[in-house]
Amino acid sequence: MMLDNLAVAQVVAPLAAAPACLLPWRRVAWLLATTCSGFSFACALVLLGAALDGGVVVSEIGGWPAPFGIEYRIDLANALVLTIVSGISTIVLVTAFASLDGEIEPGRQPLFYSVWLLCLSGLLGMAATADAFNFFVFLEISSLSSYALIAMGRDRRALTAAFQYLVMGTIGATFILIAVAFLYLSTGTLNMADMAERLPSVSGSRTVASAFAFLTVGIGLKMAMFPLHQWLPNAYAFAPGAVSAFLAATATKVAVYGLVRFVFSVFGVDYSFGSMPLPLVLAALAAAAVLVASTVAIYQENLKRMLAYSSVAQIGYMLLGISLASPAGVAAAMAHVFNHALIKGALFLSLGCLAWRYRSSVGAELAGAGRAMPFTCGAFVVGALSLVGVPLTAGFASKWLLLSAAFQAGWWPLAVVVVIGSLLAAIYMWRALEVLYRRPASPAPVREAPLVLLVPTWVLALANVYFGFATEYSVGVAEAAAAWLFVATP
């Protein structure tokens, strides 16, 4: 009784608090947003605990039983995603009050927090729902609010980036809508579990095959799957710093989760990987993403843009794991969803600290920051090491898992791709660190970032180290979640 209310409350609380943030006092709005996000995080932890005990929390919204009403279904896989999303949101929000000051004028800040909460609610709703159409609705909440958040950046290119994202995102969402129409047409239901039950009887249908294609491409657009990633670099590069940190760590991850959910829990492993050419297509696109995006990242002058391209490459790793179609591969993907959120959160936050002092994130202008802001740059170094995958960091844990899954499946070329990708990551991160530490500092004295920014940044940086050896909480949960996904498939 308590738990199923919590499952709904964690999504609805930010949604209902969002209008209240329109009050004209920005401190109140910030406090409300942070508290609310923290509440969702607490709920997510409780739900994760329940899911770890082997339970599935089912919440029938409106009191209507499953296929007739909308239900929330929290199992290990989405409890993990819920925890990441609300956790990162809370940490980034703590920094937002200070970091926003240079980026958004005070009068618009309450609007910012309101949209942020809506975005959080949308992402959580996408992860929690067990209804295909409800997934679309919450996807649109999160998308619409992220367009608005990105457009609030100072640079005018933030506007064009938001518009491009809006166009591609809406095409993606409409593709998902088409897919849901075809699935509904073939099965007569919108509930995922009910759909999964009815799909095998129509598995030869060309309508279902077409739905599968549209769903993959639609979600692919939202998660910036390799050739569909054009919106991402500019969006992350020109958004306000807090937004980049939040979206980079969570938005694409929820889309990855959505793909996993549909592929495994709705269509089923046999259909997705047997009847459809998904493994080959995904593996090829993922390998291309890792290699191409990492190479492009090397040539970026703007560090935020470099991290954005790196995100495209990292999504490639997750897709590699999924394309293996084995419990080990999916576990690697889920673990990387978790670890990459920590990595990118730490990196973007420390970059945010730098941008807060230097008013820029272009490499040349940050020369010598390593000496001026040692703690900030220290966090950046930790994040960089984790991104490259140095042992004893979180990034290493998931890459190791991915490598062993690739060997286990006998797909050794994929293992080679992972290794080359890590080397490329080492190159672009080295270029960034070289600028920070080895170039002469600018004559203007720059002080260390304030504690409100520094502490949350270091919390994430230390999490990278902690989850590097305490892997039972990240990799362990991911493995259990993957096993659950394979067991629960019809």
Partner: protein
């Protein structure tokens, strides 16, 4: 031929959808892209509604004298989708206005040129 008669509704709708999508991806003018998105979405709405049509069915408002009704569920879904669509449109149009103010143009090529000139 038989195939055509049975499915022509869907095919016309598909054609309309693709007309809208073409305007989105091929047009360089931002406002026209928005119009294209709207045509695309409105056509998807028609796809949904045509799924729920029942031969000889009536409007799904229950009355004692009627026994066969059309399917109400697609109607509900599309009501939601229409509102989502207009929300997206208004945000897109606001962005277009701001882009015009910041760049002095709403043509994609010009915007790229001005960004690169910076």
């Amino acid at each position: 031929m038989k195939e055509f008669l049975l499915h022509y509704h869907y095919w016309v709708v598909v054609f309309l959808m693709m007309t809208g999508l073409y305007a989105v991806v091929a047009s360089g003018n931002l406002l026209k892209k928005v119009v294209g998105l709207n045509v695309f979405q409105a056509s998807v709405f028609m796809l949904y509604i045509s799924l729920g049509v029942v031969d000889g069915g009536a409007v799904p408002i229950l009355r004692p004298e009627v026994t066969v009704y059309s399917n109400p569920l697609p109607h509900v879904l599309i009501l939601t989708a229409i509102v989502v669509g207009v929300a997206t449109t208004s945000l897109a149009l606001a962005l277009v206005v701001r882009i015009k103010e910041a760049y002095g143009t709403v043509e994609e090529d010009d915007i790229h040129r001005r960004d690169e000139a910076e």
